[in-house]
Amino acid sequence: MITPDLGITLVVLPLTGALLAFLIRKHAHWIGLGTALAVSLILASLLTDLVTSPGDYYYTLGGWGAPLGIELHLDGLSAFMLMASVVTGLGVSLYAFSYFRIPPQDNGKSAAFWSLWLFLWAGLNALFLSADLFNLYVTLELIGLSAVALTALAGSRDALISAIRYLLTSLLGSLCYLLGIALLYHTYATVDLTLLSGRITAQPSTQAALALITAGLLLKSALFPLHFWLPPAHGSAAAPVSALLSALVVKASFYLLARLWLELFHPIHNLMPDLLGWFGAAAIIWGSLLALRQIRLKLLIAYSTVAQLGYFFLVFPLADNQSDEMLVGAWQGAFYMLLAHAFAKSAMFLAAGNIQLFSGHDRILEFDHIAQRLPLTLAAFSLAGVSIMGLPPSGGFTGKWLLLEAAIAQERWGYAIIILMGGLLAAGYVFKVIGHAFTQAQTESFISETRTIPAMMQWVALALALVSILLGCYPAPLLELLTIGNPFNFFHPGS
């Protein structure tokens, strides 16, 4: 039997931690670390409960029940996303614990980081658990605004400019989403996902809501061609923040889109899945090509995120109108890639943070024997790169393989070729970095003083990268976790 209060604890704990970190600034990093450990323990017991008694769980906040109050919903998919959020969050917290105490960082910034990050974490967990459209709007704003504030925290000119662009984009996305919710509410008199999924019909207002909500969430999840805001923001934020933004924040809106798609919009769509698939394919090619052209490491990783996000969207056409087995396979592939990408990309950004701290810059051409001087960090980057490229054995490979299988079985050769080409291009940009890391600096720059990197920061990056590899070795239990509660064939409950 599952303890129902565990879910909401995953929201309440970070929220409390954020308040404490704001109050007791001096010890904010200890509060943050303690919260991260507590959240991880709660998640572990939640997952054990869910695996031992699989099912679809609802939790009525305040005991009011669906149309009046707010309900939380826990199934395999939300547990899977919570796992992504908590494991990445724990890693980044451990990293940030050291990162924000390195001399040039001041105490005020560290305290602000911890409260903002814990608010962000509460928002993410709340989003993954919520089954109420308006509550999801509030969580989206909590996530969006804390992500913007975290980006601006870096304080540089570039960071501030990308933060305000991020803010405007994020607000535009939430407003589109909210307008869609308004139309749905006034058509069906409820914002509860489960009730709505039983009532939804193809009406003009529903079609408009579908378009608005999809557009808003695409903007927030930076699908090509709406990705313009992502690379500068992810490229200029502080390293732990970039890791969180790339690993979790963009995925939250993808998750929400997928969830709404599965539960609400599935019966009323028309052209949409193919459109999303084409944009996804374009994102893979365009993002990878731009990543290849970058001269700064963090921007390269950011463009790689644009490309990798494209893969997730391939699931919409590949899972459309398919047999149950095929449909579940494609969705499992997309979400498995998402999980592997969360770990690999956070490892990459943390490694890039180490390199940037070590040499004072992140210009790839000026890397000077990084491999020999920061072996652990480079190992982390390379292992994460293996998962991003999708080489076996890695989580990235498993996910990509499932998507490829679906594409080949449906004889959609275009998508299959794109999936393979994306891997080749990823190999191109990953090896470009690794190559320069082994050699002497190409452009003669005045040798800047190097700084020692705390061991913790190197090991955390390596650990996250290793997890993304290990995901490829034992995929079965996690793929099974995803299907608990039957989130993917919502409309075929009999099968």
Partner: protein
């Protein structure tokens, strides 16, 4: 046409107007104003339609949602303004550079 539909249409109009201004204007403070006009439009749709019921009974739930939305909007505006002021203090500029435009002029 009922009152509810009239004001909801006004809300749509404000949303579209704000959207246009958000794309076209370059001054950051004006962009924030545009976002605010857009959110007022959304609120008009959300709560304006609250009386779009049999016998025009007013539904309190959208009203509560709009109050939540107003507080979120001022929080976002305040954060945006403070970033804007920092940008102004650092660079003397208040316009968003184009995506392809280099910022070091």
């Amino acid at each position: 046409m009922t009152i509810a539909i009239l004001y909801a249409s006004t809300g749509i109009g404000l949303f579209s107007l704000g959207l246009y201004a958000l794309i076209v204007l370059t001054h950051l403070l004006r962009k924030l104003l545009a976002i605010n006009v857009m959110s007022c439009g959304v609120f008009l749709v959300l709560a304006g339609l609250a009386a779009h019921t049999p016998n025009a009974i007013v539904d309190p739930i959208p009203h509560a949602m709009v109050i939540t939305g107003i507080v979120v909007a001022i929080a976002a505006t305040a954060l945006g303004l403070s970033i804007l002021l920092r940008i102004h203090a650092l660079t003397g500029r208040v316009h968003l550079p184009g995506v392809d435009e280099q910022f070091d002029d």
